[in-house]
Amino acid sequence: MPKRIISIIQGIGHRAIEGTWQVGLASRFFILVLLKSTTSLRRFGLVMRELYFVGVLSLIIILVSGLFVGMVLGLQGYETLQKFGSETAVGTLVALSLVRELGPVVAALLFASRAGSAITAEIGLMKATEQLAAMGMMAVDPVARVVAPRFWAGVISMPFLAAMFSVMGVFGGYLVTVVFIGVDEGSFWSQMQSNVDFRQDIMNGFIKSCFFGVAVTTIAVFEGYDAKPTAEGVSIATTRTVVTSALVILGLDFILTAFMFRGIS
């Protein structure tokens, strides 16, 4: 019995060491990507191409999800608020929930599963089929040529996608409460506008989504570059990107929220 307990503790220790290693390697890789970004910034066409695959192809899922999340928020918010006779505050509720939390977080989660996994799979496959090694042999640095453009495309797309998610959500909330239920349109918007602050809410949401963009794409490119060069290795790496991204997004969100909204209403 003590033997089993010891082996369980060993397992925990092994995982802890492993995890710490991964964090260290990913951070080092992040620095490396930053240092080698000059090529992608000089030749912006490379980033443009990735922007298409990372950003444009994520549009549909982001817009549709945003609309539905906003509609549900509107419906649920109305149900609760009308009990207190303050159904006009539903605009505030929808907008604040989206701009502060749901916009950046849900958009980042969707982004990780749509674009993050694609980035990992693409880089992993390039590694498995020796394309990265071939590039190195042609005296072209794969980190500068393959990884950095994808990284920057992800970092640039994320805040845009989060903002579009929030706008679609507000529109969804408007659709349900104002158009379908019949909440007064004027008070819907004016309540929203007087309670959503540009710096405290919108800027902070924007900053959050920038952090998430950096985190998700760093994880995605690292997992891809670090994948075992086999079909199985690539599939494991893709799964890890989605799972790790989700955990990091939620953890980071808590930390950022604690910093941003401490001490104000």
Partner: protein, 155 residues
């Protein structure tokens, strides 16, 4: 995928993204009531600020003219020191009266400025001389009960 169609899509994507940020700022948020222009700061000492918070609006005749930017407790005068940031379009006379008011019965608290008649105007960093503390509900009820009690004692 043709290079040009790709560029077109990316261009649309970026425009949509910037558009979304603009809508958030202008339609959802309060950037349009937030004058990005210059502002100046005034300081007011209050005996009791009640539930006043940083970023609470400063209104004059119901119009938002600025915001509370800082609240501190002074160890010299043992009262609350409130810093107001006022839009520089609005200038007030030296004897302007600042009071902490409540929107509705239980609503948020804000600072109301009632302009005086002085010739000299307030400048950046000036102190508001006349202030009126917040009305705290417990005190109000306490005073009411006390008055009632003393009234009944008269009989």
């Amino acid at each position: 995928m043709q290079r040009t169609t790709m560029d077109l899509w990316v261009g649309l994507f970026v425009i949509l993204g910037i558009g979304a940020l603009l809508i958030l700022s202008l339609k959802v948020g309060n950037l349009n009531t937030y004058s990005a222009g210059q502002s100046y700061q005034l300081i007011g000492h209050f005996e009791n600020i009640g539930g006043l918070k940083i970023r609470a609006p400063v209104k004059s005749s119901g119009v938002v003219v600025g915001r509370v930017v800082n609240i501190q407790f002074s160890l010299e005068t043992y009262d609350a020191v409130v810093t107001l940031s006022i839009d520089s379009r609005y200038i007030f006379p030296k004897d302007t009266f600042a009071s902490i008011l409540t929107a509705g019965l239980l609503g948020e608290q804000y600072i109301g400025l009632a302009a005086g008649g002085d010739e000299i105007m307030l400048k950046d960093g000036d102190k508001l001389m006349k202030t009126n503390s917040a009305m705290v509900l417990e005190e109000l009820i306490g005073r009411f009960l006390f008055d009632k009690a003393s009234e009944s004692n008269d009989f």
